[in-house]
């Protein structure tokens, strides 16, 4: 039985444990139908031209983990940003771990999707926001919607800001030989609210994990949302990360994606600007080796006038790794005075590495400033020589140049401890110890 059939047939079993009268149930039913018709995307789909899921479809993933596992904090501490105090929402094999988590209802709601679905006090929010930004057409998002049950639920009311950043951590213990996870997150920042979120998916063993995650983010008027995705997983862990962001007037949403490890990562990052004077930022650093594959697929839809978007993706590809960047900017007829900028710079370190880049513009308004740039090259020999002539060994000199290359993206990270952590991971990747912090 292939993965698609398995998923479709297990939907019935999944439904059994749920409240069928719940309004979300209808969304789930129509979503599974869409997935059943469309199936997994193939290379024939233009959006998946460079990324194939064929390999994953052949693996016999278990969809509902049988074991319940408790983990000791000390064993997984290193995956947390433990240097600072944060709220934590932790899932172990897709199941909420209250022992590792720290949630709150004090002014803001930082809790679980499962309780948001079931408790009457959250009903209104679910009705207004759930599945409103996510695509009803895209088959993997539909698949997630069909099985949506658990994930992080973050609701920040008007004029509020949580006391500390929020960490969302998905751990896979490897108790199952192959596990498929489908977390569903909903983040709502009402007018003038502010929130900082760090999300990480982590596999603890070398067993296969396939995560198909959907996150919906709603930013109200003047709201500020900072979202950091740390992707530094085991070489057997694959991730399809679908993020849908809907912004209102004058809101600011910044998403940073650090793709530093994993087998196959596909990021579908979609921004919908439903108001004026909106600012959207999409930045990413990708550093890959081995046979890793990362595909960044971004969409910024400018639907209203006077908005801005900034995209900056840097990639360094070694060994037999493959990088894909597909950025799309759509500017509607009425979205005059749009300022959209998109940049994608890549360095190839090995002859076996590949980069496929497709920066795309679709523009229907005339009074706009839209540009994109894409470069592919290697480290500047002269710069390298300059550093080496000053006594810096080759490896360190190379690392220094790569740091400088990626620094633009790191600069806008607003949690200093996180910046430091990312720096450490990068230094680790490059196999050097830097005597300074950037």
């Amino acid at each position: 039985m292939d993965l698609k059939e398995k998923l479709v047939s297990s939907f019935m079993a999944f439904e059994d444990g749920l409240d069928l009268d719940h309004p979300v149930h209808e969304e789930r039913s129509s979503a599974i139908k869409n997935f059943e018709t469309k199936g997994f995307p193939t290379k024939k789909d233009e959006a998946w031209k460079y990324t194939s899921l064929r390999g994953l479809e052949k693996i016999d993933f278990s969809i509902f983990p049988k074991h319940e596992t408790t983990l000791e904090y000390k064993d997984v501490k290193k995956y947390f940003l433990h240097e600072i105090d944060t709220y934590k929402i932790v899932f172990v094999d897709g199941v909420y771990s209250s022992y590792l988590s720290e949630t709150t209802h004090d002014g803001v709601d930082v809790c679980l999707m499962s309780s948001a679905f079931s408790k009457p006090m959250f009903k209104q929010v679910i009705e207004v926001y759930f599945n409103k930004a996510a695509s009803k057409d895209e088959s993997l998002t539909s698949l997630n919607t069909a099985f949506s049950k658990e994930g992080a639920y973050i609701y920040i009311p008007k004029n509020k800001m949580p006391k500390k950043p929020i960490q969302i951590l998905h751990l896979a213990t490897g108790k199952e030989p192959a596990l498929m996870l489908q977390p569903r997150n909903l983040i709502v920042a009402e007018d003038n609210a502010e929130v900082q979120i760090i999300e990480r998916h982590q596999s603890l063993t070398g067993n296969e994990v396939f995560t198909n995650s959907v996150t919906e983010i709603f930013a109200g008027k003047d709201a500020i949302v900072d979202y950091y995705k740390v992707q530094n997983d085991e070489p057997t862990a694959s991730l399809v990360d679908n993020t849908y962001i809907s912004q209102k007037d004058s809101s600011v949403v910044r998403v940073h994606t650090f793709s530093l490890g994993g087998k196959l990562i596909r990021n579908n990052l979609n921004f919908y600007q439903n108001g004026e004077r909106i600012d959207s930022t999409l930045k990413g650093i990708t550093i890959l080796g081995d046979k890793q594959h990362v595909d960044h697929h971004t969409l910024v839809h400018h639907a209203q006038p006077n908005c801005e978007s900034h995209q900056d993706y840097k990639g360094i590809f070694g060994d037999s790794s493959t990088g894909v960047f597909n950025g799309k900017i759509i500017v509607d007829k009425i979205a005059q005075k749009t300022d959209a900028f998109q940049q994608n710079n890549n360095i190839l370190l090995s002859d076996k590495s590949t980069i496929n880049s497709k920066p795309q513009l679709e523009i229907f308004a005339d009074d706009v400033k839209c540009s994109h740039g894409c470069t592919i090259g290697q480290l500047d020999d002269e710069a390298l020589f300059y550093l080496r002539s000053r006594g810096i060994p080759k490896k360190e000199a190379k690392a220094l140049l790569m740091y400088a290359f990626a620094n633009n993206v790191l600069e806008s990270v607003r949690i200093p401890e996180l910046k430091l952590r990312i720096n450490k991971i990068i230094a680790d990747k490059l196999g050097v110890r830097m005597g300074f912090d950037l």
């Binding site: 233009e46 005059q336 523009i363 994109h372 740039g373 894409c374 090259g377 290697q378």
Partner: protein
């Protein structure tokens, strides 16, 4: 200011196709429809050898299996391939020695087009191989070229007289089964140009052909083959205008360029097929496959000015097979009213130290859609490949669209690829600056558009540059107030 915005708009909308007229020359037209018999009949009609007939049939059989491509960013009523006549040739087919013998009606047509054959002969030193409804009628300067060993004739003549060359190169760059329209062309091509430059020869003049679609309801399937032997150079010009028709006309041409070691081919096009009227009715479908192959140290340069056609689907490409080969693509695509253009290039880097440059300028006005679609591919063995791409779009009015779809695929670490794209409109301050200096708005726009396109216009041969500039003005006059 000479015009108000409204007046300008009105003038633009009423700007009818200037070259819309129809010359009545008795034509020898085949019945509509396409099947193996028609393909054989075309081949017979042209007195082609057996191998050519077989080649066409092979292409036709492949075509039957293929589906019309739909990936391009254009929407149009699909042509009914069974409702097209696949062959039409002017009835009187004598070979002329001098222009005096040519049908005066035909000469009149050219005069209206502004191509005075004799004037060009004298002044510009251009040998014009005029293709009127698929069959070449007049070939000039043949003698001068023959002295140098250059062969410049219609492709049907080449099939008869130089079969060894045609056999060797036809279909090597654009195979019969390459794509839907290339296969169709391979099966039914009626005529086109053939050009062969021998080793080490520098072609002393710009070679040029003018294409026209004339007979109602006949598709034009041109086939061009240019071969530049080692160390040779040729500059080839191609220009087209078409009379006004309500029915959509199909134009599916194939152009193959072969540049052997150290050779250089410069291929320039001015395309001004009928774009349809202001309601978007009529107009030519232009589905063209153009591709060049570069051997070692060879260079192919495509320059195009696309102002016509209702739908354009055209990607002049370079296969940089030899080490140190160079590919260039310079393009201006102008769309107005309901025109749609999906055009760009493919640069395939296979050899070492290959270089390519892409400069594409898109200007959209009215309710048109203008897309750039390009591919830069660097193979894993293509050491030190270098590419620079720049695609700029200019929007006039908020009912048009400009799109960019660049594909960049790199498999070699020593590659250096740069890609830039911008989209903007003509700045109010730029116009103000001109106004302030006594230049009226319309002239200011012409000036700015001209500046925007200069990089590409500069690459055109002198004779074409003037014509192209005029075309730009005609196509865009009064687009923005």
């Amino acid at each position: 200011m000479a015009y108000t915005e409204e007046e300008l708009k009105k003038e633009l909308e009423t700007k009818e196709y200037e070259y819309g007229f129809y010359t009545d020359i008795e034509s020898d037209t085949f019945p509509k429809g396409l099947n193996e018999d028609i393909v054989v009949a075309i081949s017979k009609k042209k007195e082609e050898p057996d191998w050519m007939t077989k080649w066409r049939l092979e292409a036709f059989r492949a075509w039957k299996q293929m589906e019309e491509p739909e990936w391009a960013n254009v929407k149009y009523q699909k042509p009914d391939f069974q409702n097209i006549s696949y062959y039409s040739a002017p009835n009187k087919k004598p070979k002329y020695d001098s222009l005096d013998e040519v049908d005066p009606e035909l000469l009149d047509t050219f005069k209206k087009l502004g191509i005075s054959v004799d004037e060009q002969k004298k002044l510009a030193g251009v040998a014009v191989d005029i293709v009127m409804d698929s069959v070449s009628v007049a070939t000039t300067f043949k003698k001068t070229l023959a002295e140098k060993g250059i062969i410049f004739c219609s492709i049907s003549e080449a099939i008869k007289e130089h079969p060894e060359l045609v056999k060797k190169y036809l279909g090597t760059v654009v195979p019969q089964k390459d794509n839907f329209y290339a296969a169709l062309n391979s099966a039914v091509f009626s005529d086109g140009s053939f050009c062969y430059i021998p080793k080490g020869v520098r072609c002393p003049m710009e070679l040029s052909t003018y294409f026209r679609i004339n007979q109602a309801g006949t598709g034009q399937f041109e086939r061009t083959l240019v071969i530049a032997e080692e160390g040779s150079y040729v500059s080839y010009l191609e220009g087209c205008t078409a009379p006004m028709r309500d029915e959509n006309q199909l134009h599916a041409a194939v152009v193959e360029l072969i540049a052997l070691d150290n050779a250089e081919i410069k291929y320039s096009t001015v395309q001004n097929w009928f774009p349809g009227n202001k309601e978007g009715k009529g107009g030519v479908y232009n589905f063209v496959t153009k591709r060049g192959l570069c051997e070692k140290h060879a260079k192919i340069s495509w320059t195009q000015v696309e102002t016509g056609s209702a739908v354009t689907w055209k990607y002049p490409s370079c296969i940089l097979k030899g080490d140190y080969s160079i590919g260039e693509f310079y393009s201006i695509a102008v769309t107005n009213n309901f025109q749609q253009a999906d055009t760009g290039t493919k640069m395939v880097h296979l050899g070492k130290n290959t270089k390519s440059t892409i400069i594409s300028k898109g200007i959209s006005a009215g309710q048109s859609q203008n897309s750039y679609r390009g591919l830069v591919q660097v193979n894993s063995r293509a050491e030190n490949a270098r590419n620079f791409s720049q695609c700029d779009s200019l929007l006039m009015g908020n009912r048009c669209g400009a799109h960019t779809f660049p594909y960049i695929e790199v498999k070699n670490k020593s590659a250096q690829i740069e890609h830039e794209a911008t989209t903007s409109k003509i700045g109010e301050d730029q116009i103000f600056y001109c106004n302030q200096r006594g230049i009226d708005t319309e002239k200011a726009i012409a000036l700015i558009v001209n500046g925007f396109s200069k990089e590409v216009l500069n690459k055109l041969p002198m004779e074409f540059a003037v014509e192209a500039q005029k075309l730009l003005e005609i196509s865009l006059e009064g687009s923005v107030g």
